[in-house]
């Protein structure tokens, strides 16, 4: 089937300049998007900034104090633990399921798609309320394990889409049959052939889940609260105590998310070419 040319790559005028309107709109867009971020960064290094347009002075004092706050390392550690645990559970839950549905149970794919859209339709507060009502008995009540379950639900779509796209991009049936004809069992097929071929999807999904969970506030504060303080909780706490330190925390969390985004984009671009070679010949 012939593909219509993608307009993004084939504008008729070769090297025309952007119009006045474009420049105006893009300038407004950049201003609106970047000002809050830049202001936060600058605020975190400002001595005093409540009377002037630019800070009165600059200092790294607030970063020092930020790092020295009692819960700093604990919350960072908790956030990392939560994010890594969620990524792990998501991978174990979703990757085999996607593979299974694509090979053994194709009729369930619509069901799987719907189940993966569902988390978008459940507001986090509603999920929190529902979970708190059901799991109000020890040991799971208000425990980090309940939180992990909730956060896996919340982040499922972000793991599912890259993995599903990657699985659909490779010729999974041919690969599976080839492996089976060589006598491999399911685990071997998955670990030695399938997973390496969808690695870019797995990486993208993992990084997406990681950065989403790292910044998650609602479920954490409503389900476990101070029992398992994560970094976003510390940040919100300090917005009411000391704005400059809160800004430092913002910078740290945003920088981590920013790095994860870059890695996601890098991971997404990996493995595009190799998998095509596997099936073309």
């Amino acid at each position: 089937m012939r593909k219509k040319p993608n307009l993004i790559g084939s504008l008729p005028n070769k090297k025309s300049r952007p119009t006045g309107w474009q420049i105006l709109l893009i300038a407004f867009f950049l201003f609106y998007m970047l000002l809050p971020i830049v202001s936060t960064y600058v605020f975190s290094v400002a001595t005093r900034w409540d009377r002037t347009i630019l800070p009165e002075g600059y200092t790294l004092e607030f970063y020092q104090r930020a790092i020295q706050t009692s819960y700093f390392t604990i919350t960072l550690r908790n956030s990392f633990i939560l994010s890594m645990a969620t990524v792990l559970v998501s991978l174990i839950l979703i990757v085999p399921t996607v593979y299974w549905v694509h090979t053994r149970l194709v009729g369930a794919k619509p069901l799987l798609d719907v189940l993966m859209i569902l988390p978008f339709g459940i507001p986090t507060v509603v999920l929190a309320l529902a979970l708190v009502q059901v799991y109000n008995f020890p040991p799971i009540a208000r425990s980090p394990f309940l939180l992990i379950g909730a956060v896996v639900v919340y982040s499922m779509p972000f793991m599912y889409r890259p993995v599903s796209n990657a699985v659909q991009a490779i010729n999974i049936h041919t690969l599976t049959e080839a492996c089976q004809s060589l006598g491999a069992n399911v685990f071997q097929i998955l670990s030695k052939v399938i997973i390496p071929n969808i690695m870019s999807g797995i990486l993208s999904g993992s990084l997406l889940v990681f950065s989403t969970v790292f910044a998650e506030y609602t479920l954490t504060s409503l389900l476990v609260g101070a029992r398992f303080k994560t970094f976003p909780l510390l940040l919100v706490e300090y917005t009411r105590i000391n704005g400059n330190i809160a800004a430092s925390f913002s910078v740290i969390s945003f920088t981590i998310a920013w790095l994860a985004s870059i890695l996601i984009l890098w991971a997404g671009s990996q493995g595009q070419r190799p998998s095509k070679n596997v099936t073309r010949s």
């Binding site: 950049l30 936060t40 605020f43 369930a108 507001p123 999920l127 896996v152 910044a215 506030y217």
Partner: protein, 288 residues
């Protein structure tokens, strides 16, 4: 004999799907069902009742729903309009490298939501914020107390911040469905730019615009962290109210909270369903 074999085969096929199904059951289906059941049962008599839903007619509850719907609707409309215009500006930007930079920027800023975003807006538009100072000193304009970032319109500004990239990323592929040949032939028939967009461009984009609106609406309706950081208890939204109930800060019959949650689910369900329908129709244009 064959039927038995087929039956067992089917069971073994589905058994591979069970772990995931059980997980969804435990953490999604059962809690939601319990929620729905809880909203329909009276605490004391254990009888089915619609009283919790009827109680939602109370002033404060109605207000929270009105506010949430107003907020979500307004930010969705602003997001769709601005997002489409800015999306088009990006789409038709001549340099492809710069376009990619813009798109990267969109992906990166979409991470900046929730509490850090709310706080950033306080830094920018708070009582001593950057823009506030700028308006005061350079243009002699006092932003406060007429405007406050800790108000409805302040919240709108913060919400649009994360609505905008979502819309732009959604509408960009849709522009590929508007063929350049159409614009040329329309021009050769005497139509100017406005005519083209009014009669051809916008109708073709319409499914994507509707998809964008419903997605942005659902996105805003379910948001909690940004509003919580900016407002605390000054302004009532549905998500905030439910949150207070969970945190035990409000003495109230949990049945009402569950009724609110169920109603929210219905509103979200309608939005997501509309989004799915609109997306399927939008895909028709980009496939042709």
């Amino acid at each position: 004999m064959v039927m038995l074999k087929k039956f067992f085969r089917k069971i073994s096929d589905w058994s591979g799907f069970f772990p995931f199904l059980i997980f969804c059951l435990a953490f999604e289906a059962v809690p939601i069902l319990v929620l729905i059941r809880g909203s329909l049962i009276d605490r004391t008599t254990h009888q089915i009742t619609l009283q919790h839903f009827l109680d939602l007619q109370g002033r404060s509850y109605i207000n929270s729903f009105i506010n949430s719907i107003k907020l979500s609707g307004l930010t969705a409309v602003i997001g769709v309009i601005l997002g489409t215009i800015i999306g088009y500006a990006i789409y038709t930007w001549p340099s492809e490298r710069t376009r990619k930079i813009f798109i990267t920027l969109l992906n990166v800023t979409s991470n900046f939501a929730g509490a850090p975003l709310a706080f950033a807006f306080v830094v920018v538009l708070g009582m001593n914020g950057v823009i506030t100072q700028f308006l005061l000193q350079w243009l002699n304009y006092e932003l406060y107390p007429g405007f406050s970032i800790y108000s409805f319109y302040g919240l709108v500004l913060a919400y649009v911040y994360f609505q905008l990239p979502l819309m732009v990323l959604l509408i960009l592929p849709a522009f590929a469905g508007i063929k350049k040949e159409w614009q040329e032939s329309a021009r050769s028939l005497g139509a100017n730019s406005f005519h083209f967009w009014w009669r051809i461009g916008i109708p073709v984009l319409m499914p994507s615009l509707i998809a964008g609106f419903t997605l942005l609406f659902a996105n805003a309706f379910g948001a909690y962290a940004t509003a919580y950081t900016l407002l605390q208890s000054q302004f009532s939204l549905v998500t905030l109210k439910i949150g207070f109930l969970i945190a035990g800060e409000v003495r109230g019959d949990p049945g009402i909270g569950m009724a609110m949650a169920v109603l929210s689910l219905m509103i979200m369900g309608i939005s997501i369903a509309a989004y799915q329908v609109a997306t399927i129709r939008a895909r028709r244009w980009s496939k042709s």
